[in-house]
């Protein structure tokens, strides 16, 4: 929900990532910081929704990663749009941005978007990236992330056995993981349930709540 001033743009590309997830490419209206979001609407006077930017700061266009919610207001309509169609987009905003080098980034589903944006911008900032998804098709940027981050890119698959992937949720992986030193920050992004559960695990394992920064999709 948002009501930011919107600007009309034409969709550049619309990529199918898997059955449920799409990557929507739009012209970059202004610079932004990794972790920021934009507000999107299919018409200038229609309801707006917020999406984290998924592309890097230096990419020439911006990308939005979205999950099609069949009973949702916007995403089924977004899914029908083609390159060249109009969309209304706000300037980037939000302060989930001051990422500290070497931090841990934990996401589920499309919650990886702000961290992938950071990875595209400053991969050396990513101490560890833990991504939870249902199955292999949920690990959208697997090849690129594996190539650069190696063992510091951890995939957690909640359904089905996937090669080189932890079988279970992010919270289950965290329970057995050797955590970083006390100064390390943890950035979380995903559904409220994932963020709250992950934060609880981190706190129960001795991480100071002060070191945990969350972005929740609502």
């Amino acid at each position: 929900m948002s009501n930011k001033p919107l600007f009309e743009v034409r969709i550049l590309r619309h990529e199918r990532i898997n059955e449920q997830v799409r990557l929507l490419w739009l012209p970059k209206l202004s610079s932004f910081k990794a972790g920021q979001m934009v507000s999107i609407s299919i018409a200038p006077d229609s309801s707006q929704r917020l999406y984290s930017i998924c592309s890097g700061e230096k990419d020439s266009d911006i990308a939005i990663l979205y999950d099609i919610k069949r009973d949702g207001f916007l995403t089924p309509k977004l899914d029908e749009l083609l390159a060249g169609n109009s969309l209304w987009v706000s300037a980037p905003f939000g302060s989930f941005t001051d990422f500290v080098k070497g931090s841990w980034f934990l996401a589920s589903g499309t919650g990886i978007a702000p961290f992938y944006s950071l990875f595209r911008t400053n991969p050396e900032f990513v101490g560890k990236l833990v991504h939870g998804g249902r199955d292999e098709s949920s690990f959208y940027f697997m090849n690129e992330l594996t190539e650069t981050l190696g063992e510091n890119y951890i995939r957690c698959s909640s359904r089905g056995i996937v090669k080189d992937t932890f079988h279970g949720r992010v919270t289950e992986w965290l329970q057995g993981a050797q955590l970083a030193d006390a100064a390390t920050k943890y950035y979380l992004c995903g559904s409220a349930e994932m963020v709250v559960d992950t934060r609880d695990v981190l706190i129960s394992r001795g991480v100071d709540y002060d070191k945990i920064i969350s972005e929740i999709y609502f």
């Binding site: 559904s191 409220a192 609880d200 706190i203 709540y209």
Partner: protein, 343 residues
């Protein structure tokens, strides 16, 4: 089957038109629902049998009694209502001298993930309908004693704005319960677009959960700060006139060593300087496995005194129902876990 209770007059007009009933019937139905407090469509005795039969073929009234209640020694009662098969919401009845306040829920669970909140630990399970919001009020055994309603139970009201606005419209309209909007307070964590819409469309009081005047600290307590800054919330509020009867208050839970220092007092006084509002200090009701602790009584009193001396009207909310899972979301979480274990 769809419920009639919770329909606005505008929605009843549509229903009556579709039924081919005289247009004045919509007002009659509203009277039966919200003034005569009926529980069966057949009690609408001034509506034709044909009209009642039509309504019965499409609708039920849709009232549901609470499934559980816990009573505190201080008179507070926490009622548990069902929403769907396995979901529960809480409504807290808080009598106090000549006032009786009901704290209602607007969602099952919550998406906002505040660090200090028990409801957030349930995750988000669904939106409450207008019927479910108002049913907490209407089906309360103490309904006729109520003087005030606060939307401060489970959920973020402005993440379910449409239903919340319809419910306050029904409570405060002449065709509805006819309450003064000054008896109703809606609380928010600060979702700015919805807050603006609420301020434009409603005359009810507003309460904003602040909990820290510092952005970096607030976002560790409340992830919403990453999206909507408290400074922008304040800027929006200052666009509106608060010199009349409508009130805005800031809720401030005091956490030991976190947000209860002189630095916080000074910053609160600075950002609220010249703004007609009230700060409501709240004692933290501890929740399981929380890293936060309640401030001690001496600190709370000092905080209040210093803020008042700096010109910020500050009160301390009395803690109620501490022997009955006072923290919002505790009772419903226990019930949810119990049902899941039974399944």
């Amino acid at each position: 089957m769809e419920t009639l209770f919770g329909k606005t007059l505008q929605e009843l007009v549509v229903i009556v038109k579709e039924a081919g009933l005289p247009s004045f019937t919509s007002k009659q139905i509203a009277d039966w629902l919200y003034k005569h407090h009926i529980s069966e469509i057949d009690e609408m005795t001034n509506i034709s049998k044909k009209g009642r039969d039509y309504l019965k073929s499409k609708f039920v009234i849709g009232l549901a009694n609470p499934v559980n209640v816990q009573a505190s020694i201080d008179g507070t009662k926490k009622y548990l209502f069902k929403s769907g098969d396995h979901r529960f919401i809480e409504a807290a009845y808080i009598p106090d001298d000549d006032r009786a306040t009901l704290c209602v829920s607007s969602q099952v669970g919550c998406k906002m993930g505040c660090l200090f909140c028990m409801t957030g630990k349930q995750g988000f399970q669904g939106q409450l309908t207008v019927n479910e919001i108002l049913n907490q009020i209407r089906s309360l055994p103490e309904f006729h004693q109520l003087t005030n309603v606060v939307y401060m139970g489970m959920g973020e009201p402005f993440d379910n704005l449409e239903s919340v606005l319809k419910s306050t419209e029904i409570l405060s309209s002449d065709w509805g319960y006819g309450w003064s909007p000054k008896r109703i307070t809606v609380s928010t964590i600060g979702i700015i677009p919805a807050m603006r819409e609420f301020l434009n469309k409603s005359s009810c009081h507003l309460a904003v959960s602040m909990h820290s005047p510092f952005e970096d600290e607030r976002r560790k307590l409340m992830p919403i700060e990453n999206v909507y800054h408290i400074s922008d919330v304040l800027s929006l509020l200052k666009e509106y006139d608060w010199t009349g009867q409508r009130r805005v208050s800031f809720e401030y839970i005091l956490f030991k060593g976190v947000n209860d220092t002189p630095k916080h007092i000074n910053e609160l006084a600075r950002i609220l300087n010249g703004f007609k509002c009230r700060v409501n200090l709240i004692r933290f009701h501890s929740i399981p496995n929380s890293p936060l602790e309640p401030s001690d009584e001496e600190t709370i009193q000092f905080f209040k005194t210093r803020l008042n001396s700096k010109g910020v009207l500050t009160t301390i909310r009395a803690s109620r129902g501490q022997d009955i899972y006072a923290a919002c979301g505790l009772l419903s979480t226990k019930e949810l876990v119990k049902r899941q274990e039974e399944d």
